[in-house]
Symmetry: C2
């Protein structure tokens, strides 16, 4: 297949579509998470704590969200006031401020995650499994490319290895939130309850 | 090629990567546009006016940016104060508030666009032309899917046709901003100046 070279056109379309698609996605998420009393930003903080494992360092939460520690701290202040998370001391490093999720936070996170996952599955449904796989892997390429742009000399292989180490938490999280309609959930005989 | 079915995993990865990639892209853009005294939001407003053609209705700018008219109006207030755009009356509909770009706005928009296009070309460079084309077309599918989710019953074909009608402005814009290094710009013998 011959591909006509249109570098400017594709560059502009990519640029505009990344913005539009993300903005629309954010508006959909604001609606979905709003039903559970969460903003999209607050939801992100809760998910990152689940991913990282409790108690999670604020600096790790900020890195996971690709945001500055300052902006994440402001979101956390409001979440502490709303009773969604609490600040705790790290057992190993007494100076580090860590976060854990309150039961109120857990009670909002679970249905919000199910609602969000169902929504994303619906949105991705026009793409074939293979197309989804390709799309996700290209997104990943772009992500590491952007990361290198912002942090020249960053060891992206090391970043990838660190993310793989968190896979145990990811697995736990997936088991916990597996949608009843997915093959993984059926194999486990339905949704598991987290021991609290 | 056999694709192992991992619906939850791909759904989650897509979700997280869309967030991370966009957030990183936004941080890069903040840096780039900041060099020309613009925020990424202000840059978006200037580009939409160029795209739509002057004078551009505020409601059309908001629709182009996929944002609410209220949030765009707040950005515009600051841009009017900063002397980047001015409010004008529509010639056909005297009640509609329209926008045109001041010469200060033009002087910021041009180098910011060149910087932005160069950056996006660099970021996309690890993907082959064919991969870029596939990625952009999948992004487009997702965009219209999200648009239908937010506006049930929306005529996406009509939206697509409206966007095609703006192609003349897009072409003008591309000619104006074509990077000297691209085939399009070389064919035209370098960058064109816009008649002001």
């Amino acid at each position: 297949m011959t591909v006509k070279s249109e570098p400017e056109n594709l560059t502009l379309r990519f640029w505009r579509l990344m913005y539009q698609t993300y903005t629309l996605l954010k508006r959909c998420e604001d609606q979905i998470f709003g039903e559970y009393g969460l903003t999209t930003e607050q939801y992100g903080v809760l998910v990152s704590i689940e991913y990282l494992g409790e108690p999670a360092k604020v600096t790790d939460v900020a890195r996971w969200l690709e945001r500055s520690t300052n902006s994440v701290s402001m979101i956390i202040d409001r979440m502490v006031k709303a009773g969604l998370v609490k600040r705790v001391r790290d057992r190993k490093d007494r100076r580090a401020v860590c976060l854990s999720i309150t039961s109120k936070g857990e009670n909002a996170l679970k249905p919000a995650t199910l609602g969000g996952l169902e929504f994303i599955q619906k949105i991705l449904s026009p793409l074939s499994s293979e197309d989804r796989r390709t799309f996700v892997s290209q997104l990943e390429t772009l992500k590491y490319d952007l990361l290198s742009y912002l942090n020249p000399g960053v060891d992206t292989e090391k970043v990838k290895r660190n993310e793989l180490e968190k896979k145990a938490n990811l697995r736990k999280w997936l088991d916990l939130y597996a949608l009843p309609s997915t093959p993984g959930a059926r194999r486990q005989g339905g949704r598991k309850k987290k021991a609290m």
